[in-house]
Amino acid sequence: MKKLLSAVLATALIVSMLSGCAGASADTAATQSNASDTSAVSSDSSDQASTGAATFKIGGIGPITGGAAVYGLAVMNAAQIAIDEINAAGGINGYQVEYNFQDDELDNEKSVNAYNTLKDWGMQILMGTVTSGCCVAVASETAKDNMFQITPSGSAVDCIANPNVFQVCFTDPNQGIAAADYIADNGVASKVAVIYDSSDVYSSGIYAKFAEEATAKGLEIVSAEAFTADNKTDFSVQLQKAQENGAELVFLPIYYTEASLILSQADKMGYATKFFGCDGLDGILGVENFDASLAEGVMLLTPFAADATDDATKAFVAEYNKRFGENPNQFAADAYDAVYTIKAILEAGNVDPSMSVSDICEKCKSGMTSVSIDGLTGLGMTWSADGAVNKAPKAMEIKGGEYKLIQ
């Protein structure tokens, strides 16, 4: 008992010293910034040291805790694989690459904090952020510092508003347009229902353009029902609306977790219809406790399928499986491509790590528009100066529990 008391007392003392410090010195911001001030100095000196040791410092930002952690972890892991491969093969222009990934908890403010942390670390190129909202916030900061940024999966148009930001994934509007075009041009259906997440930038972004393009192409949208992040477990109302209005196809511009619920609920209702999704649906076959046979016949436009048979994909999937024990999704593939894109432009521009961040950015910007990458998510990817990628979306259909390329 006495020991316990003394232990508690000791802890209390330590804490009281800390918080006493806060009270007495009037301000923790000051004391802590004093502390961090030394770390800033040391990071400055390590900055100079790093130019001596000559390594490229690539940073990454994404959610690796919380609800969206799946996406952040996929990007973090895949980029790690790519960077390890590059380092093992002798690095970029003969220089090794250092990699640091910071958590942003899917919060714009935390994302900027993560960016500042990476800046203190000496980051030269940012491979991130994973999500659109955070990407917009961070992009305005990278624009101020003129740091080159390539986002694997931030798909909103606002992400690439600045000339220093490029995307590996499709922009949301392009996905919406491509989906509507595909449905209309191939005569998949004429009466379409949409179920989308109005609280999600990705989903509402695709929906807005899909609706526009669908009307232009003569598709009839018989019902467009939204749900929000706070209310995404029961979709019977939305499905009923679609069924009542006689939709031949339900368009799901959402992520696979919700889509798997929609599929099983439609099955319970006895509502057999076609489902069509975008790249967010990739991964639906891997959902736990989900009867994959329900996904039979689901069509999706996605740049990547883990069971594709080309050598690059096979090798990547095998390596990812070996190290992290699961199949990579398209976020992972986008991140892997992003790292190799960075490698290609750094080599094309003959960049070395001693150059300033701003100079590297200029070299990369000019390199980006002339480069052509054969990656996991597309062959012959090219970029326009506005930052959007040019690659062909692949239409896949789930057949016999596998993604199969249509056409």
Binding site: S33, N108, E109, N113, T117, D120, S198, A226
Partner: protein
């Protein structure tokens, strides 16, 4: 006797002001001499935002004695109305300080207005019920903003609750609030200096209110509603007054938030109940009713998770443990007893007593 008490208040307030000012000057010196990391520089404005929020909520929780879990909602209203104004007038008012001042006033007024409107039905409730209803209102605000689409073209403003397509904007029209995508491209007018001035204004408002006639009336409602009513204090009026001011101040914090980042979205993370609870955490850990404590707690708890980044995966775990330890240290009766026994003041007092002997 009365005079001494007044001067004690004054002394207390002056200490709070000087703490904030000294902190500001130290940080400014560090900034000027370049001895501050980018992370810290980026954290300065958020720290100001949360300090203002904590003070605002402390007025409601500590002084009025009503537990509100909807302050993130008021912050959200302030943020969106302020950012909306800035975005609309970006080309008209090119003088940033003037535009930002107007945005702050508009944000505060809107948040206060909603605080007033929500306060009328909500403040009839007490305790847990009030907390639950304010929580619900906070969520409602966030969700309504998430389906709000506002565009502007030559004919004026267009509003829709469905999607951007149904705005029917003409050619050169632009979307200002884009539903879940919120407002992007708000001018970055927030700075540490502005934040500091706003903290001072907030402190002046709240501390003066506490020490005024109205403030004493508000505290009497907290301490004993029936007694307060019996001596003719307008309970509803004073409750509404404190709640409205508190909402308005949260609105100021919201405007500062909106002008700090380029993109403003009403996500569960920044304007959901999680944020309301985080703000409440500042208040509770800093000491309910203790304004200076809220300021210090807001600073520590905003910086802590960022400074723990070095711990990588253990960051959130350590943060939680620190919170628990702080909570025990601040509120556990046994620890309070021990603190009284071994407090610095007590030790100095004993020493002095010894010297006298």
């Amino acid at each position: 006797m009365k005079k001494i008490k007044m001067s004690k208040h004054l002394k207390d307030n002056l200490t709070t002001f000087s703490i904030v000012t000294v902190a500001f000057i130290i940080v400014e010196i560090l900034k000027a001499t370049g001895h501050i990391s980018s992370l810290m520089k980026g954290l300065l404005v958020p720290v100001c935002i949360y300090i203002i929020c904590a003070i605002a909520l402390n007025l409601c929780v500590g002084i009025l004695g009503e537990l509100s879990l909807g302050h993130a909602g008021f912050m959200c209203i302030g943020a969106f109305s302020g950012a909306f104004f800035s975005k609309c007038t970006q080309d008209v008012i090119t003088f940033a300080p003037l535009r930002f001042t107007l945005a702050i006033i508009i944000g505060a007024l809107f948040a206060a207005l909603f605080g007033f409107l929500i306060g009328i039905p909500v403040l009839r409730l007490k305790g847990d019920y009030l907390a639950i209803v304010t929580l619900a209102f906070g969520e409602i605000i966030k969700n309504v903003i998430n389906v709000l689409y506002v565009g502007k073209d030559t004919d004026g403003f267009r509003l829709s609750l469905k999607d951007t397509v149904s705005l029917h904007l003409s050619g050169e029209g632009k979307i200002i609030i884009n539903g879940a995508q919120g407002i992007t491209g708000t001018p970055n007018d927030s700075s540490f200096e502005v934040g500091f001035v706003l903290i001072l204004i907030t402190l002046i408002i709240v501390l003066n209110l506490i020490n005024s006639r109205d403030g004493r009336a508000i505290m009497s409602i907290r301490d004993n509603t029936i007694a307060a009513e019996s001596i003719g204090i307008n309970i509803t009026g004073y409750k509404l007054m404190a709640f409205t001011i508190s909402a308005g101040l949260a609105g100021i914090a919201g405007v500062l938030y909106a002008h700090n980042l380029n993109s403003l979205m009403a996500q569960p993370k920044n304007f959901g109940y999680n944020m309301s609870i985080t703000i409440l955490l500042f208040v509770v850990l800093g000491g309910i009713g203790n304004i200076r404590g809220s300021v210090i707690a807001a600073v520590v708890l905003t910086l802590l998770p960022e400074l723990l980044r070095g711990l990588a995966d253990y960051r959130m775990l350590i943060y939680a443990i620190v919170l628990i330890v702080l909570m025990i240290f601040n509120w556990s009766p046994k620890i309070l007893e021990l603190r009284k026994k071994y407090s610095i003041k007590g030790l100095i007092g004993a020493k002095k007593a010894g010297e006298v002997k």
